[in-house]
Amino acid sequence: MWDKKVVPYIMIAPFLVFFGIFRVGPIFTSIWMSLNEWSGITAVGFVGAKNYLTVINDARFWVALKNTLFFVVVYNSIMLSFALFIAVIINSPLVRGGRLFRTIYFLPVCMSLVVVAFVFDLIYGRRSGLLNIFLGLLHLPHDYRWLDDPKLAMWAIIGMRVWRASGYYSAFLFAGLKAIPIEIYDASEMDGASSLSTFAYITLPLLKPMLLFVIIMSSIWSFQLFDEPWILTKGGPSDSTLTLQIYLYQHSFLFNKLGMGAAVSYLMTLLMILSSILYARILSLKE
C-alpha cells in the first residue's frame, strides 16, 4: 500500500527535477537578473528597480510597446477574421475536398521562416516586387517602399504574418466548428433563421471557448513578435517595426545589458497576463 502511494511520485520526480532546474530555476534567476546591472560576464551589481525605471523612461520602449500593441490588435483582428472565414468555408457541406484545403492552408506555418521571409522580400521589392508589379498591372500607384517606408513597414509585416498563421488557427476553429452539434443547425433551419443569423447567434456563441483559446494563444505569440521584423527590417525604418521582443534582444545580446533585458521580459509578461484577463472578461461579459 505504501509502495503504491509513493510510486506515482517517483515516476513524475524526474520531470519535476528537470522542470525545476530548467524552467523554474531560470525564472527566479531572471527575476534576480532584472534587479541587477549585469553584462553577462562582468561582475553583478544590485540596482533594485533601476532597470525597470530605465526601461520605463526610455522613449524607445514606448515606441516598441506602441508598435507591439498595434500589431497585436490589428494583426489578430485581420488574422482571426481570415482564419474564421477559412474554417467556416471548409466546414461547409457544399465544399468538396475539405481535407485538401485544410492541408493547403496549413502549409505556410510548416515552411521555414527564413524561406518565407526571402519570398516576401521578393514580393515587397520596390522595383521588381510582385506586389508593386501587380498594382501596376491594375493601373494603380505602384512605387511603394513596403519595407522602407515607416508608414508601410509594419503593415507589410502584418501581411506576411497573416498569410503564415491564418491556416494554422483555422485548424483550431475548424475543430471548434465540428464540435457544434448539427441538430442545433437543423433546429435553427426549421425555425427559419437566415445563414447570417445562424452564424451570429448560434455558431459564434458556441465557438466561444475555442475562439477564446485561439485569441489568447495568438495574442501571446504576437506579443512576442520578433522573427519577421528582425529578418526583414531589423526593427526599422525609424523603429517603425521595433517590437518589445526586438527591444529585449537588442539590450540583452547586442548592448550587453542582460539586466535591462530581463526587466523588459517581466514587463512583457505583465502585459500578456493583463491582456489575457481582459480577453477572458470581454468574452465572458458577452455571454
Partner: protein, 414 residues
C-alpha cells in the same frame, strides 16, 4: 589455455600499446575555430601542413550568430572555441568583458608589422586581446561602360564632388550613381561610417568619449542625405536582397562604394556576364583633405577566450593566419579581403591583375586613418534611427547630430 607467463606478457604488450597510443594522441593537439568563412578547403590544410602537431576543427556559423554564441560561451566560461573570428567593430565590446586572453607579451613585438590604425583597434588600456586579419577597406566598384556613355572620364575624377558631377550626368540617362542602404542599423549605418571614416572622421575619441561639436559629422550627414535629396544621384535600396543584385545587373546603379572583398565575393560571381564592364577605383579625396584615404567596412579579428585550455596552439594558428605572408596571401586569395599584416601586402600576389575587373584590386586600397569603436552595436542603432529620420525629411543633419549626442550621453555615458 593461456599459461600465467603468457598472460603476463600479453598484459605487458597491451599496456605498452595503450601508452604508445596515448602518447601519439597527446602529440597532436586539436583546436576549435569558429568563423563565418569556410577555411576547411583553403587555409586550414596549409596551416596543418606547416604545423603537423596541431589540428584545426572548424565550425562555420553566421557572423551575428557567432558573436551571440561566443558571448554566451564567455559568460558560461565554456562551450566555445579556442579561436573565434570577430568583426573588428564589435571587438571593443568583447574586450570590455575581460574574458579574452591577454596576448600582449607574445605579440607586442609585431606592432610595427601591422597597419597602425588597425593595431589600435585590438587594444584596451594598452593590452592586446586579438590579432587583426583583414580590414575590408573601401573602394569604388563602378560600371566603366555606363560612365563612358554618360560622358565621364573616370580617370579625371579626383574628388567626391567630381563623383557627384558624374552622377548628375548619369541621372540624365535615368541611372543612379550609387545605392544607399535602408533601413540603416547594421548595414546602412556601416555604409555611412565607411564614408565618414574615409574623411578622417570619428564618433569617439581614442579613450571612448563622444566627440562634442563634431562639425565634420554634421557636414558628412548633410553630404550623405544630399546625395539623394539635393543632387538626386543616389537612391535607397535594401541591402543584399535579390532586388539589390537585380539593380546592379540591369545598370540602375552605376557604382557602388564598398569594401574590396565584394568584388571577389559578390560582383564577379553574381554578374559573370558583366566581366570587363565592372571596374574598380580607389576612394576619392574629400575637398578639404590633402590626399585621399579609405574607410573600412568592417575587418576581422581573431581572439582566444580566456577559458581555452589550448592557448599555445590557438596562438600558433592565429599567428600563422595574421602574421605570416602565407596566411595573408591565403586570406586574400580565398576571401578577397586585404590583410592587415604589412609584409604580406608586399607579396607579388598583391600585384596580380584580376581578370574580371581587368585591374589589380589591391592597388586601389588607400591608407586608412585611425577609427575608434565603442559600444558599436548601440551606436549604430542610434545612428541608424537618425539616418532614417534624416532621409525621411523629418530632421536636419544638425538635429540628427544633437539627437545622437544626447542619446549617447544619456544611454552610454560617453
Amino acid at each position: 589455455m593461456m599459461t600465467s607467463k603468457t598472460r603476463v606478457v600479453f598484459c605487458l604488450v597491451a599496456l605498452a600499446c595503450m601508452l604508445i597510443g596515448a602518447s601519439a594522441a597527446q602529440s597532436s593537439v586539436t583546436i576549435t575555430l569558429w568563423n563565418w568563412m569556410k577555411y576547411e578547403e583553403s587555409i586550414i590544410p596549409e596551416f596543418e601542413q606547416r604545423h603537423p602537431g596541431i589540428k584545426v576543427q572548424e565550425s562555420v556559423l553566421g557572423p551575428w550568430d557567432l558573436h551571440d554564441k561566443f558571448l554566451i560561451s564567455l559568460a558560461a566560461g565554456t562551450g566555445g572555441p579556442d579561436v573565434a573570428e570577430l568583426v573588428t567593430r564589435r571587438f571593443s565590446s568583447f574586450m570590455e568583458t575581460g574574458a579574452l586572453t591577454d596576448i600582449t607579451d607574445q605579440v607586442k613585438g609585431l606592432a610595427n608589422d601591422f597597419m597602425p590604425s588597425i593595431w589600435s583597434m585590438i587594444q584596451s588600456k594598452g593590452r592586446i586581446y586579438g590579432l587583426p586579419m583583414g580590414i575590408s577597406p573601401g573602394v569604388i566598384w563602378y560600371r566603366e561602360d555606363l560612365f563612358a556613355e554618360s560622358g565621364t572620364r573616370t580617370e579625371d575624377m579626383e574628388t567626391w564632388e567630381d563623383y557627384i558631377d558624374a552622377g548628375k550626368k548619369l541621372k540624365t540617362g535615368g541611372i543612379y550613381l550609387l545605392p544607399i542602404f535602408v533601413p540603416p542599423g547594421q548595414w546602412g549605418g556601416n555604409q555611412f561610417t565607411l564614408m565618414f571614416h574615409s574623411r578622417g572622421g570619428n564618433f569617439y575619441t581614442k579613450d571612448g568619449k563622444f566627440i562634442q561639436d563634431n562639425r565634420l559629422l554634421v557636414d558628412t550627414l548633410q553630404w550623405y542625405v544630399d546625395l539623394r535629396r539635393t543632387h538626386g544621384v543616389a537612391d535607397t535600396i535594401r541591402f543584399f536582397t535579390p532586388e539589390f543584385w537585380n539593380t546592379l545587373k540591369t545598370g540602375i546603379f552605376a557604382s557602388w562604394p564598398m569594401n574590396v572583398a565584394e568584388g571577389v565575393w559578390s560582383i564577379a560571381p553574381n554578374m559573370p556576364e558583366l566581366a570587363g564592364k565592372w571596374s574598380v577605383m580607389p576612394f576619392l579625396r574629400w575637398k578639404e583633405r590633402e590626399s585621399a584615404t579609405a574607410g573600412i567596412w568592417g575587418g576581422t579579428v581573431y581572439t582566444i577566450p580566456d577559458y581555452s585550455q589550448k592557448k599555445d596552439a590557438a596562438l600558433t594558428f592565429m599567428l600563422y593566419e595574421t602574421s605570416t605572408t602565407e596566411g595573408g596571401v591565403s586570406y586574400a586569395k580565398y576571401f578577397g579581403d586585404f590583410p592587415v599584416y604589412v609584409p604580406a601586402q608586399k607579396n607579388p600576389f598583391f600585384k596580380e591583375v584580376n581578370p574580371y575587373f581587368g585591374k589589380c584590386l589591391w592597388d586601389q586600397v588607400l591608407p586608412i586613418p585611425p577609427f575608434y569603436y565603442f559600444d558599436w552595436a548601440e551606436t549604430m542603432q542610434i545612428l541608424g534611427r537618425q539616418l532614417d529620420e534624416l532621409f525621411a525629411g523629418q530632421i536636419t543633419a544638425e538635429k540628427a547630430y544633437t539627437n545622437m549626442a544626447d542619446e549617447i550621453r544619456n544611454k552610454l555615458g560617453r
